[in-house]
């Protein structure tokens, strides 16, 4: 009933939020959702620079619903090329069906 879509998920360092958002906007996505996240990955030997004694997460998780898989992979490609050499991060995509959106 809804519209077939792809949910691209990018987990990366907090610092990159604004720059990743720019890539997403440029790709023509209608929006994105961000949440604070922590995590462990291969780069975890690297410090995030956040105070470790504090109680906050140092990653962000960005979710973008895209109408085509091409748009999702394009965003992921650009983000990976620009940032993932130097910063920690992961990108994956799931199938989804958008039931309601103000614009999609």
């Amino acid at each position: 009933m809804g519209r077939q879509a792809y949910m691209l998920v990018i987990v990366t360092e907090k610092l990159l939020l604004k720059q990743v958002a720019k890539v997403i906007d440029a790709a023509g996505a209608t929006g994105y959702t961000v949440a604070a996240a922590g995590g462990k990955g291969s780069r975890n030997v690297r410090s995030s620079g956040q105070p470790s004694v504090g109680d906050s997460f140092s990653n962000i998780k960005i979710e973008v619903l895209t109408p085509t898989k091409e748009m999702a992979t394009m965003i992921a490609n650009k983000v990976a090329a620009e940032f993932f050499e130097d910063y920690s991060g992961i990108a994956y995509v799931c199938n989804a069906e958008v039931l309601f959106a103000h614009k999609f």
Partner: protein
């Protein structure tokens, strides 16, 4: 050798300040894996309170009396020290085996930059020792902080370009792999103004400058006397606790990046402080810069940035491993500056004062 013995006594005396007690207490708390936490919101607010207070007190004093021309020479020396620290790091730490040049440059940048908390601790001790210092002395902060960060980012960029050119040269002699494009000559002129802007927009420097501005332009004396000033020492003691906890928590990270960083992080703060102390004494001779001011100059040189520096470097030198520079600075550099540096420079200044008569 009355100089040494007098200095020794003064140094030992300073070592017993309660500020240090909280620092060490924090290390112990973290070392025994306690779940004690100072919430991040509170930590951030304390840092804000300390830096706006430092700014306000400077601003109020400047508004009342000061001849800011006196500040020119110390500000110049602060800038020179900040730049020198980065070069020293690049040509010492950077050349050691198993140390990556990028990591070394970033580490030197962080040690050249300034810690507001270390500065606040020094001001407290100077006040309780009743040592005079120029009220604008805390305003030397950005004059060392920003040049150090800019120098580090520029040096890193130059190094990266050279590396790339060397790689290209090698490639041009050989052949290309099938699926590999010849590398595009990148014309990356590094822009300095955005780095300066980024530093100024950081929360620590913003709070300091806001306080300075408010102190100079409005008359916040009553709110300063009744609120910002009385809370200062108490909040500082809690911040010291956090810094001790951080230091212990980062020790593991430092261990991973190798012992050279630990050695650098131990020696560098003291060395940087002495360099700045020397510059300060020159200013003392020429323009009558106070002994207290000399101590402040030495302490901001000895300190390494804990709040604004790391994200600026993470963005400016993305190839550098943050564990290297944050580990070095937080786990060893800052405790050394706080626990040894401050007592050292105050003791030294007091000894020199006594000898001068």
């Amino acid at each position: 050798m009355t100089f040494l013995s007098e200095f020794g006594a003064l140094f030992l005396d300073k070592l017993q300040s309660p500020t240090l007690g909280f620092l060490i207490g924090g290390m112990v708390v973290a070392a025994v894996n306690s779940r004690l936490q100072i919430p991040e919101a509170v930590y951030k607010f304390i840092v804000f309170m300390l830096l706006i207070k430092v700014g306000l007190s400077g601003g109020i004093a400047i508004r009342n009396t000061e001849n800011l021309v006196e500040m020119l020479l110390p500000a110049l020396f602060a800038t020179l020290t900040g730049i020198a620290i980065v070069f020293i790091g690049r040509y010492s730490l950077g050349l050691l085996p198993k140390v990556k040049m990028m990591d070394a440059i970033a580490t030197a940048g962080l040690f050249g930059a300034v810690s507001g908390s270390t500065l606040a601790a020094a001001l407290t001790l100077l006040d309780s020792e009743e040592m005079f210092y120029e009220p604008w002395a805390a305003a030397l902060y950005p004059f060392m902080d920003i040049p150090a960060l800019v120098t580090a980012i520029v040096l890193a960029s130059i190094y990266a370009t050279k590396q790339r050119q060397a790689a290209e040269a090698r490639l041009n002699q050989g052949e290309y792999f099938d699926d590999q494009q010849p590398p595009q000559p990148q014309n990356t002129r590094i822009k300095i103004w955005p780095i300066i802007q980024d530093s100024l927009q950081g929360s620590a420097l913003s709070a300091l400058l806001l306080g300075l501005g408010l102190g100079i332009l409005t008359d916040p004396t009553s709110v300063y006397d009744n609120f910002f000033n009385p809370a200062f020492r108490g909040l500082l003691s809690i911040l010291m606790l956090v810094m001790g906890m951080e230091a212990a928590a980062r020790l593991g990270e430092l261990r991973k990046v190798g012992q050279w960083y630990a050695i650098y992080a131990f020696i560098a703060p003291l060395l940087h402080g002495f360099i700045a102390f020397g510059f300060g004494m020159i200013a003392h001779q020429i323009t009558g810069f106070s002994y207290g001011g000399v101590v402040i100059l030495a302490v901001i040189a000895a300190s390494s940035s804990d709040i604004s520096g790391p994200p600026t470097l993470r963005a400016g030198i993305p190839k550098a491993n943050p564990s290297a520079y944050i580990g070095s600075s937080t786990a060893v550099g800052t405790p050394v500056a706080l626990a040894l540096g401050i007592p050292l420079y105050i003791g030294l200044a007091q000894t020199l004062m006594d000898m001068a008569g």
